[in-house]
């Protein structure tokens, strides 16, 4: 099963290398990893999607927690949360197919960010399922280039990943 981990880390140089190194060294597979700034300047937040059984996820979380630069690890998979992925996709679009493709993109609330003679570039955000569906529906036209940011996630309501939760610093 796929798990989503919200990981708060010190905004130190090398922290990404430490996390990435840990995954490769221990043979854990990362499905996606995003990292970015947060509300406080000295904390970064990673959203890591890992595939594995409960035992593996527990081991991943515990190993992550051993890194000194990791402040908090929380498996939010089973908790109420919102998640978003962003995709940019450049698709083949002959002038006679343009309207069709753009109508289809409308269904996904994708936005056109670039238009060229033979291609259209879309931007689309949503949860992973939606993004994957959007990708699939463009595939028949011929995808020239595609890039996804990977998932970012946040708990619903006023709960914060820093408070409580599993495998936190005891």
């Amino acid at each position: 099963m796929r798990h989503t981990l919200a990981v708060l880390v010190e905004n130190n140089p090398g922290v990404l290398a430490r996390v990435a190194g840990l995954f490769s060294r221990r043979g854990f597979n990362i499905e996606s990893l995003t990292v970015g700034r947060t509300e406080s300047h000295d904390v970064s937040r990673m959203t890591i999607v890992v595939d594995g059984d409960d035992q593996l996820i527990e081991q991943v979380s515990k190993q992550l927690h051993k890194l000194i630069d990791v402040i908090k690890v929380r498996d939010i998979t089973a908790e109420e949360h919102v998640d978003r992925d962003l995709v940019m996709v450049k698709v083949n679009a002959d002038p006679n197919q343009r309207v069709e493709i753009m109508n289809m993109a409308e269904v996904f609330r994708a936005r056109v960010v670039d238009l060229a003679g033979k291609t259209i570039t879309f931007e689309c955000t949503g949860n992973e399922g939606k993004i994957t569906a959007f990708e699939e529906s463009l595939r028949p036209y011929g995808i020239r280039e595609l890039v996804r940011t990977g998932k970012v996630a946040m708990l619903r309501g006023s709960r914060l990943p820093g408070a409580g939760g599993s495998w936190s610093a005891e």
């Binding site: 010190e10 090398g14 515990k62 051993k66 908090k72 005891e170």
Partner: protein, 555 residues
């Protein structure tokens, strides 16, 4: 106060009560050596190879319980430390390592003697730092010592660019800064502790499986009390040896690959396995599925990641072994468990740990004599190979922390430099290095360090003229194709000793040992004893790979 950063560094070391630094100088670390020149409190011991500095700091830490410190210059100096850092990491030894680095502006340019040592050591350090802001240095140094010595101990490296340590700063020692991502758990969960007490009470056949965590938390007294109170036999991992008295009736010796038959059988028959500061290493469990098949498992360890890593645990208990045992003991009652102890006695009688005497000089015999003459009280340092296993089997330790040996990494060459570190840390303790002819040749250049420091280390070479442990593997797994394990050239270790001015002896009969060993051990000063032993002697019992520990063979 305006001072050079290198001087600030030395002041931080003094504040951390560092008395000894093992190291080797070079260009990038020059400013630090310059600052050490004026220190009256920090003694520097010059080794002959940086690997020796790391192993010496490691040996020092093992016998003193303090954090070992070593340093080297950038590039090759730093990479030479690597094996020693990995060794400390695998055995959870507290150590702080300083490396020189090229000036900040040259970092990333493949400058002369530049290596990315923080990158290289990431997998083998508990944490590491590249100092970029000189004002942060005091905080980093104090935090490094804090991290290295608390929780599950381990090595922490600090990389010092040359321009940074040469700067003059307004020095205020901030002391350590709180680390929000690092708060090790010492006290066990009280509900879990009660659960453990209940399991112990309802168990009929408990075994205590005690590892290195017992020694690093200083829990040997609590362990003894626990074992005697609940009448549970105790088996040690290799790292746990000396954490329980070697001659105690409840002691089962070491378990696993070369463990005693009775330790392995007791674990196989037990209904409750109490794991204390141990990590179910593959050399202990062998075939994991058949390890302690009838047992419920209680696992007490300070590292949460060790619990549930390899085996399913019925009661996981994160905490410091000593602190947890102190809380557990009052909840327990005296138990006799006569049938179980009777059974233990029976398997001990049926499968004693022995060896065959046949007139040749047997390594086991030598270890027994060393044990007898030192009363099990010496610091015994080993290298890696068959000789190491014979020490583990036949030296009956009476004092905690007296075995200094490379467990997790199994690092040949550890012996001599680690003995130098150990003797430096505990000069009052007799120190004996038991090494092999292969391992000794990996770091024997440190004889120079030993003599320079005037260290009284007795070196026993169990010389089978081979890489015995690998030769043994080839006998069992390669049908006797001895590829690259029988040395074709044998140095004269007595002549080598002479070059360093060390008294040396060569023995090949039991009588030689009986006659000369007491005298040599009783004489002050270093000595090298070259003991020629039969090449075909194997370490037994032995569990073949893929087998369960109850299936050990004796040969």
């Amino acid at each position: 106060m305006q001072i050079k950063l290198a001087e600030a560094l030395v002041q931080c070391l003094e504040k951390e009560k560092v008395e000894v630094v093992f190291g080797y100088p070079g260009g990038a670390i020059l400013p630090v050596y310059d600052a050490l020149y004026n220190s009256t409190k920090v003694r520097h011991i010059l080794v002959r190879h940086e690997q020796g500095a790391a192993h010496a700091a490691d040996g020092y830490a093992r016998v003193t319980g303090k954090t070992g410190v070593c340093m080297a210059t950038s590039g090759p100096g730093a990479t030479n430390l690597l094996t020693g850092i990995a060794n400390a990491y695998m055995d959870s030894i507290p150590m702080v390592i300083f490396t020189g680095q090229v000036p900040t502006i040259q970092i990333g340019t493949d400058a002369f003697q530049e290596v990315d040592i923080t990158g290289i050591t990431m997998p083998v350090t508990k944490h590491n730092y590249l100092v970029k802001d000189p004002r942060k240095l005091p905080e980093i140094v104090h935090n490094a010592f804090h991290i290295a010595s608390t929780g599950r101990p381990g090595p922490v490296l600090i990389d010092l660019p040359r321009d940074i340590v040469s700067q003059t700063i307004q020095f205020t020692d901030s002391g350590p800064m709180p680390l929000r991502g690092y708060r090790p758990t010492y006290r066990g969960h009280s509900f879990k502790i009660q659960e453990v007490a209940k399991m112990i009470k309802s168990s009929k056949r408990p075994v205590i499986y005690a590892g290195g965590g017992v020694l690093s938390s200083g829990a040997q007294d609590e362990l003894l009390e626990l074992a005697e109170l609940i009448s549970a036999p105790v088996t040690n991992t290799f790292m746990g040896l000396s954490g329980f008295p070697g001659e105690h009736p409840l002691f089962l010796g070491m378990l696993g690959l070369h463990g005693t038959r009775y330790a392995n059988l007791a674990v196989t028959e037990c209904d409750l396995l109490i794991a204390l500061g141990a990590r179910f290493d593959d050399r202990v469990t062998m075939k994991l599925k058949e390890f302690a098949p009838k047992a419920s498992v209680v696992h007490i360890d300070i590292d949460p990641a060790e619990i549930g890593k390899l085996v399913n645990t019925h009661v996981p208990l994160v905490g410091d072994v000593k602190t947890v045992l102190k809380a557990l003991l009052p909840l327990l009652e005296k138990e006799d468990r006569t049938p179980w102890l009777h059974r233990i006695h029976e398997i001990k009688e049926e499968h004693p740990l022995t060896y065959r005497r046949n007139g040749t000089l047997k390594p086991q015999f030598i270890i027994e004599q060393i044990c007898r003459l030192t009363g099990g009280e010496a610091i015994v340092v080993t290298d890696v190979g068959q000789h190491q296993m014979w020490v583990a089997q036949f030296y009956k330790f009476h004092r905690p922390g007296m075995l200094v040996s490379s467990g997790g990494l199994g690092c040949m060459g550890f012996g001599l430099p680690a003995a130098i570190g150990a003797k430096t840390g505990r000069p009052e303790r007799p120190t004996i290095l038991v090494t092999g002819d292969g391992s000794f040749q990996m770091t024997m250049q440190e004889l120079g360090t030993m003599m320079e420091q005037g260290l009284d280390i007795k070196i026993v070479i169990l010389n089978n003229q081979a890489l015995g442990m690998v030769r043994q593997l080839q006998q069992f797994y390669c049908e006797g194709r001895y590829m690259a394990t029988n040395f074709q050239f044998h140095p004269d270790f007595c002549q080598l000793a002479k070059a360093y001015g060390i008294p040396a002896y060569s023995w090949n009969r039991e009588e030689d040992v009986l006659q000369a060993l007491p005298q040599v051990l009783a004489t002050r000063g270093p000595a090298i004893m070259n003991c020629i032993i039969p090449v075909e002697e194997n370490v037994t019992p032995m569990v073949m790979s893929g087998k369960g520990i109850h299936e050990a063979i004796e040969c």
